[in-house]
């Protein structure tokens, strides 16, 4: 599937979102090209099917759909539900740990297209997987709509890192809807990175975390003029000793960023923290931080911090005194602010994301 003309032709676009054509570097590949699914798996213990095939051939897949995200939630979930399910089904068998990341790409190659996807990820107890999702439009596409439903089950003691890099065209509207269930002692990390202009991106994934489990949602956003990013996450900490963290780093280069978060502590011994940091580079832009903490048990430890403002003159001049021009100093500070190291990724994936940030950063900052 990776030899397909359009894929080879759009190689640069794909690589920018972490999708490589060299199969050796990945444990599996999936592409949704417009609304056509392609999947190929190269790992033992992992099942990677297109959703169209999975609902027909694998027992129990159909029954799991729409259990973590409600069909009736809004117009976008309704739209997705009205379409045949397209996307990926990923299953990792009990205790199987996959080192190399699995890559998936949602690619819009036709202008004005509406792309709907429905993905399901199931990690059995003790399994480990790293998924790198790239979303992009072909270089000549400037308009479209992407609606993505994703439901994720992380088994007991399992670990899933789920990284998403967006590189949509200017007039693309993006509406992901994600639900996550983290069983006892499981660990889920979600990373969202976008440094390119898109019309509007609105996403508010929800996670339910059981005893001793943990969930983290991190986002690195650069919002150029005329873009709107409305991003948040909600974590229900339902089991004793569960923990949750929401980290948001947003830069507005004239765009509007909402960074929301809702942490719900329902059990004793839970820990939850949220941090929002925003940098405003232009007078026209705005960053709105809306952290919410909800404690429903006295024995919880929950906190949030938010700081929004311009780049500190002191930091710029500090670098200038070392010989950097004001432009170089600003660019360094901005890149540092979007440091992917805060994501806590495994080293291989970290390098991948570093490369992407470097590449996208050069172009847009």
């Amino acid at each position: 599937m990776l030899e397909k003309d359009i894929i080879v032709k759009e190689r640069d676009v794909l690589e920018r979102v972490g999708f490589v054509l060299d199969e050796k570097e990945r444990s599996g590949s999936f592409i949704l090209l417009d609304n056509e699914e392609m999947a190929s798996n190269y790992s033992e213990g992992v099942t990677l099917y297109s959703m169209g095939k999975a609902v027909q051939e694998i027992k129990g897949v159909k029954g799991k759909l729409w259990t973590l995200v409600s069909k009736e939630k809004d117009q976008w979930t309704k739209l997705a539900a009205s379409q045949p399910p397209r996307g990926y089904f990923i299953h990792v068998a009990k205790g199987v740990k996959v080192d190399k990341p699995l890559q998936a790409c949602f690619f819009i190659a036709t202008s004005r297209l509406t792309q709907t996807t429905h993905n399901l990820i199931v990690l059995e107890d003790g399994a480990e997987l790293h998924i790198l999702n790239g979303c992009a439009t072909a270089s000549y596409v400037n308009m479209g709509l992407h609606v993505g439903i994703t439901e994720i089950f992380v088994g007991k003691g399992a670990f899933l890192s789920y990284t998403m890099i967006h590189d949509w065209a200017e007039q693309v509207e993006v509406r992901p809807r994600t639900g996550v269930y983290v069983d006892e002692g499981g660990k889920f990390i979600s990373n969202y990175i976008t440094i390119k202009k898109s019309k509007i991106t609105q996403s508010y994934p929800q996670a339910i975390v059981e005893r001793e489990g943990s969930a983290q949602f991190a986002s690195l956003v650069y919002a150029p003029a005329n873009s709107i990013y409305d991003l948040g996450a909600r974590i229900y900490l339902n089991g004793q000793g569960a923990s949750g963290e929401i980290i948001s780093r947003a830069i507005s280069g004239g765009g509007k960023v909402y960074s929301r978060g809702h942490l719900v502590g329902n059990a004793p011994g839970i820990k939850a923290h949220m941090s929002c940091d925003g940098l405003l580079l232009e007078e026209k832009g705005s960053i709105i931080a809306i952290p919410e903490l909800e404690a429903n048990h006295p024995d919880v430890e929950m906190s949030h911090e938010a700081a929004v403002g311009r780049i500190a003159e002191e930091e710029i001049e500090y670098l200038m005194s070392r010989g950097f021009s004001p432009e170089e100093a600003k660019s360094l500070i901005i890149k540092g602010f979007l440091d992917p190291e805060i994501l806590g990724l495994p080293p291989a994936l970290q390098q991948e994301v570093n490369k992407t940030i470097e590449m996208i950063g050069e172009g847009s900052l």
Partner: protein
């Protein structure tokens, strides 16, 4: 190297320097004394050209060039360097990365890091979560990489333990070419200090006492320091008033 003539500087409308005259020759090391708030750090920031420090009168000449209105990075390129008393933290910028961006080789970076026992901090964000002593060492480390012809060193020893003061003093000596014969020394430095530790190790040529934005007394740095230590700044004020 540096010539300051009748320098008046304001910060947010408040005068902080009131007619400073100072001359530092090539190869010389000067020391600035003075109570807190006298304007010592302000003088450094004004020499470096930071925007909050507005020159209302006077001139700063560096290497025979009037730099009074140059931005900091151009002054840095001409050979000025500063180590901060309280540097800001740079999130996401690693100390090693900064060294590389300053155009230094891995070998040089490692060598100076070794000298300042900073190996453990090379891959940390610059100054973020550094202890007082680590910050000072990181500042001197950056100056060593920068190799300025005139180094402005602001309280290199405050908050530093005895062992590390020794390390910092050695690095400053290297920075100011104290290992070379006097005639071959090219680099100059101005050091702000409140203690004698640095002075014991880094021999200075001249001392200046700054009070209320003015240089009120200049002379042999060790003698001046001993006087201040014995009698405090009050005695200096008396001495100064006598000369008025």
């Amino acid at each position: 190297m540096l010539l300051i003539e009748n320098l008046w500087v304001e910060v947010e409308g408040q005068p902080v320097l009131k007619g400073i005259n100072l001359r530092v020759k090539s190869g010389e090391t000067h020391v600035l004394f003075g109570p807190n708030g006298a304007g010592k750090s302000s003088l450094f920031f004004a020499i470096m050209g930071f925007s909050r420090y507005r020159v209302v009168e006077g001139k700063i000449i560096f290497k025979e060039r009037d730099i009074t209105h140059l931005p900091p990075h151009e002054r840095a390129k001409l050979g000025l360097g500063i180590s901060f008393q309280r540097p800001p933290s740079l999130r996401g910028i690693k100390l090693y990365q900064l060294g590389k961006l300053m155009g230094k080789s891995e070998e040089e970076i490692k060598r100076y890091a070794e000298m300042l026992s900073l190996n453990g901090l090379l891959y940390r964000d610059v100054n973020l979560g550094f202890s007082g002593g680590e910050m000072k060492r990181s500042e001197i480390f950056q100056l060593l990489l920068q190799e300025p012809d005139l180094a402005l060193i602001d309280e290199p020893e405050s908050g530093v333990d005895v062992v590390n003061i020794g390390i910092i003093a050695e690095a400053i000596k290297k920075l100011l070419q104290k290992d070379m014969p006097i005639l071959e020394r090219k680099r100059s430095g101005i050091i702000i200090t409140h203690t004698g530790f640095i002075l014991e190790k880094v021999k200075a040529d001249r001392g200046h006492l700054l009070m209320d934005g003015k240089i009120v007394c200049s002379g042999n740095p060790e003698e001046m320091f001993n006087e201040i230590k014995l009698k405090g700044y009050k005695e200096c004020v008396k001495c100064w008033k006598k000369t008025l």
